[in-house]
C-alpha cells in the first residue's frame, strides 16, 4: 500500500458530497490508527506536462513510503494528496486552497510549474502554511525579497546557479575554442527568459570578449522551431545556448538535426543531461554540452545508484530532474518533521532554515537549505559533453559552489535584492 492517496472516495465523502452539493465538505479520512499527517501536492497530472507531475509524485512517494515504513512520526503516517493543477496558475491556486481548506492538508509540497508556483506563493502568503517548492527554478521565487516568504522553501535547483555554472563552463570552452559569437534560442516564458538572461549576463562577466549576436524566443510549447533554427543558419554563430527542456528540447534538436546546425555549432544547454530527455534523442550531434539534470551516474555514488534503482522499482519509469528535486525537497521536510516531532509550520520553518541533510544529490553527499533565502544549495552540478549512450555525459566538470556564490551575490546586488 502506498502512501499516495487520491483522497479515497469513501461513502462518507459521497454522502457529504450529496448533502452539501457543491460544497466539497472537508473530510478527514480517519484510519484505524492515528490521524495521518496530510501533505498536499499540487502538480501537473494532465496535458503536456504530465511528466512533471508523475516525476514529482513518484519521488515524494518513495521518500514518504520509507518514512512510514520506519514508523512514521511516532506512529503517525504521512499521506500524500497529489492533485492536478492542469498547469494553470488559477487552477493551482484553487487546488492549493482546496487541499488546505477542504482536505485539511497540514503541509504543502508544491510541484507546480513556474506560473503555478507563483500563484501558490500568493495563496500561502495569505494562509501561512509551510510549503516546499520543488519544481520552479525561477530565481526570483526565493531571491526576490518581495516574493520570498518565511514559510516557503525551495527544494529545487535555481536558475541563477545553473546559469553561473553554465557560464563558467561555457567561458572555459569558449576560451579554448575561440567561441566569440553566441546566439540564444529559448522559450518565451518565465523559466526560459530567466535561464537565458542570467546565463548571458554571467557569461559576459566571466568571458567579457563574447558577444550575443542574436536571440530567438519561440513561443513556449510551440511545437515548431523551424523559423528560429533557420535564423541560426543565417546568423552563423560560434555557439548556441538554449533553455528548452523536456519534450521541447527533443523536438528542438530533432528539427535542428535536419539542418545539421549542430554539426558545426556547439550547443550549450542546462537541460539535456536528464534521463527522460536524453533517451528520447535518437541522433546526437557531435558537440553538445549540457548541465547535469538527473543522471544515475552523477554524482557517481552508491547512494545515487541505489536511489535510482529504488525509484525505478517503485514507479516504473526513469527518474527525471523533477524527481530528484522533489526527492530533495521532501527529504528536507521529512527530516525536519523527524527532528522537531512537529507538524507546526513555524517550528518546521525554523528547523529548515540552514538545515543540512545527507542526500545522494549533494556535493559530498550533503545538501543544505540556505537560511538567508530559504533555497537549496550545494547540490551536485556539473557540465560535460553529452553522449548518446550511458553514462550520457563525459568529462564532467564539477562546478565550484564558491564561484556560484560569488557571482550569485553580484547578481543579487545588481537586482537590488540585497
Amino acid at each position: 500500500m502506498t502512501a499516495i492517496s487520491r483522497t479515497g472516495l469513501n461513502r462518507r465523502t459521497l454522502m457529504a458530497g450529496a448533502a452539501a452539493g457543491v460544497l466539497a465538505a472537508p473530510h478527514v479520512s480517519r484510519g484505524q490508527g492515528k490521524e495521518p499527517i496530510k501533505i498536499g501536492m499540487p502538480t501537473v497530472l494532465s496535458g503536456r506536462f504530465t511528466v512533471v507531475g508523475d516525476s514529482a509524485r513518484g519521488a515524494a512517494g518513495l521518500a514518504i513510503d520509507a518514512f512510514n515504513a520506519a514508523g512514521g512520526l511516532d506512529g503517525r503516517m504521512i499521506e500524500l494528496v497529489a492533485r492536478d493543477d492542469k498547469a494553470r496558475p488559477d487552477e493551482a491556486a484553487r487546488v492549493v486552497r482546496e487541499l488546505l481548506n477542504a482536505d485539511g492538508c497540514h503541509l504543502l509540497i508544491s510541484s507546480s510549474t513556474t506560473a503555478g508556483a507563483f500563484a501558490i506563493q500568493e495563496v500561502v502568503r495569505e494562509t501561512g502554511h509551510l510549503c516546499i517548492q520543488t519544481i520552479s527554478e525561477t530565481s526570483s521565487l526565493t531571491a526576490d525579497p518581495k516574493i520570498r516568504l518565511p514559510n516557503v522553501f525551495r527544494g529545487a535547483r535555481q536558475v541563477v546557479h545553473d546559469a553561473i555554472a553554465g557560464a563558467s563552463y561555457a567561458a572555459k570552452v569558449a576560451k579554448e575554442r575561440g567561441l566569440k559569437k553566441w546566439m540564444t534560442n529559448s522559450p518565451d516564458f518565465a523559466y526560459g527568459r530567466d535561464a537565458t538572461g542570467q546565463f548571458v549576463e554571467s557569461l559576459k562577466k566571466i568571458a567579457p570578449d563574447t558577444t550575443i549576436i542574436g536571440e530567438a524566443w519561440p513561443k513556449f510549447m510551440a511545437p515548431d522551431y523551424t523559423e528560429s533554427l533557420t535564423q541560426v543558419l543565417t546568423s552563423k554563430p560560434d555557439a548556441l545556448f538554449t533553455a528548452h527542456s523536456g519534450g521541447d528540447i527533443v523536438a528542438f534538436m530533432d528539427q535542428a538535426k535536419l539542418y545539421n546546425i549542430f554539426d558545426k555549432v556547439p550547443m550549450f544547454t542546462p537541460n539535456l543531461a536528464d534521463l527522460t530527455s536524453i533517451k528520447q534523442i535518437k541522433k546526437l550531434p557531435p558537440d553538445v554540452r549540457s548541465g547535469t539534470r538527473y543522471l544515475a551516474t552523477y554524482p557517481d555514488t552508491a547512494a545515487n545508484h541505489d536511489w535510482h534503482d529504488a525509484y525505478v522499482k517503485r514507479n516504473g519509469g526513469e527518474p527525471s530532474n523533477w524527481s530528484w528535486e522533489t526527492a530533495a525537497g521532501t527529504a528536507f521536510l521529512l527530516e525536519a518533521i523527524k527532528k522537531t516531532k512537529s507538524i507546526d509550520g513555524k517550528v518546521l520553518a525554523e528547523a529548515l532554515r540552514g538545515m543540512t541533510i545527507d542526500s545522494p544529490f549533494g556535493i559530498g553527499g550533503k545538501l543544505t537549505m540556505r537560511a538567508e533565502d530559504q533555497t537549496l544549495i550545494n547540490y551536485a552540478i556539473g557540465w560535460g559533453s553529452v553522449l548518446a549512450e550511458p553514462p550520457y555525459l563525459k568529462n564532467i566538470q564539477d562546478t565550484d559552489w564558491s564561484e556560484i556564490f560569488h557571482y550569485e551575490t553580484e547578481w543579487k546586488k545588481s537586482k537590488g535584492f540585497i
Binding site: R48, V51, P223, E227, L229, L233, T234, D254, K283
Partner: protein, 300 residues
C-alpha cells in the same frame, strides 16, 4: 522590433531561401490540418473543434506503427488511415447527431472529445513526451539552394503536403465523388434524391478530413515530440488559416497556411515577440473586411 534585421534578411538570398522554406514547412503542416477543418465545415457545416485531437491521434498511431515495423511509410499510413477510420466512426456516432444543431451543441460535442481523447492518449501511451526520431532515409544533410538550406525531410514534407493539396483538389474537382461532395455541400437533399447515400458521403468526408489531420500528425512525429494535448496549437492555427482563407475553401486554406507560415518565418527575424499578435490581428481584419474570407463565397 528589429526591422533592420528584416531588411538585411531580404537582401540576402540565403536568408530569403531559408526563411521561405521554413515558412512553407510550417504552413504545409497547418494546411494539412486546416484543409480537413475547412472541408468538414464546407460540406458538413460543422466547425470541428476536435480536429487538433485527431492530429494528435495521427502522431500516436504513427509512433506506435513505427516502433512495431520500423517503417516510416507504414507509420504515415497508420496515422492517416487509423485516424481516418476513427473519424468515420466519430462522425457516425456523434457528429451526425448535431448536424443543423446550433453551434453551441457542435462546440460542446467536439470539446468533450478533446477532453476524452487527450485523456485516453495519456492513459494508453503515458503522459511523457515521446519522440520518433528521424527515419534513416531522411537522415541526410540539408540541400543547398541559392545559399539557403532546405532539409530533405522538409522537402519531402512540403512535397507530400502539396501532393495532398493537388490530390484533394483533383478528388474534389475531377472525380464523380468530388462532384457529389461539392453538390452535397450546396444541396444535400437534392443529392440524396438522386439516389446517393449522403450519410455515407458525409462520413467519408469527415474520415478524409480526419485522415489529413492524422497524416499531418504522422509527418510531424519525426520532428515534434508527442504529448497529450499536442493538438491544441495547431487547432488554433488552422482555425486562423481557415477563417482567413475562407471557411470551406481548400484553396483558401492553402493560401492562408502559406501566409501564416511566412508571417512566422519572417516575423521571427523582424518582430519575434509580435508574430502571434500579428496573426490574430490579421484574422480580425480579414473577418471585418471580408467576413467570408479571402476565397470564401459571401453569404454562405
Amino acid at each position: 522590433m528589429n526591422f533592420d534585421a528584416l531588411i538585411d534578411c531580404f537582401s540576402a538570398s540565403a536568408c530569403v531561401v531559408t526563411q521561405i522554406s521554413s515558412g512553407l514547412i510550417i504552413g504545409m503542416l497547418i494546411f494539412m490540418v486546416a484543409s480537413g477543418v475547412t472541408l468538414i465545415f464546407g460540406v458538413l457545416g460543422v466547425v470541428n473543434f476536435a480536429h487538433g485531437a485527431l492530429y494528435m491521434l495521427g502522431a500516436y498511431f504513427a509512433l506506435t506503427a513505427y516502433w512495431v515495423t520500423d517503417s516510416f511509410t507504414v507509420a504515415v499510413l497508420a496515422g492517416a488511415i487509423g485516424t481516418g477510420l476513427f473519424g468515420v466512426v466519430f462522425e457516425r456516432l456523434f457528429i451526425s447527431r448535431v448536424y443543423g444543431a446550433d453551434v453551441l451543441s457542435q462546440l460542446l460535442v467536439c470539446y468533450a472529445f478533446v477532453l476524452i481523447l487527450d485523456d485516453a492518449v495519456k492513459a494508453i501511451w503515458g503522459g511523457d513526451f515521446l519522440s520518433m526520431g528521424m527515419p534513416e532515409a531522411f537522415a541526410l544533410p540539408p540541400l543547398m539552394i541559392a545559399g539557403g538550406f532546405v532539409p530533405p525531410f522538409y522537402a519531402f514534407l512540403t512535397a507530400f503536403a502539396v501532393a495532398s493539396a493537388i490530390a484533394l483538389a483533383a478528388l474534389l474537382g475531377l472525380t464523380r465523388f468530388g462532384k457529389i461532395v461539392r453538390a452535397a455541400a450546396v444541396n444535400r437533399q437534392m443529392v440524396g434524391v438522386l439516389g446517393i447515400n449522403t450519410s455515407l458521403v458525409y462520413a467519408l468526408i469527415f474520415g478524409l478530413g480526419a485522415a489529413l489531420a492524422g497524416a499531418a500528425g504522422a509527418l510531424a512525429a519525426p520532428v515534434r515530440s508527442a504529448t497529450p494535448g499536442m493538438g491544441f496549437d495547431i487547432l488554433i492555427e488552422s482555425f486562423i488559416v481557415t477563417v482567413i482563407g475562407g471557411m470551406g475553401s481548400i484553396a483558401g486554406a492553402f493560401v492562408g497556411a502559406i501566409l501564416i507560415g511566412m508571417i512566422r518565418a519572417f516575423g521571427t527575424v523582424g518582430f519575434p515577440l509580435a508574430t502571434e499578435g500579428v496573426t490574430f490581428a490579421m484574422m480580425a481584419v480579414v473577418l471585418l473586411v471580408k467576413p467570408a474570407g479571402l476565397f470564401g463565397k459571401a453569404g454562405r
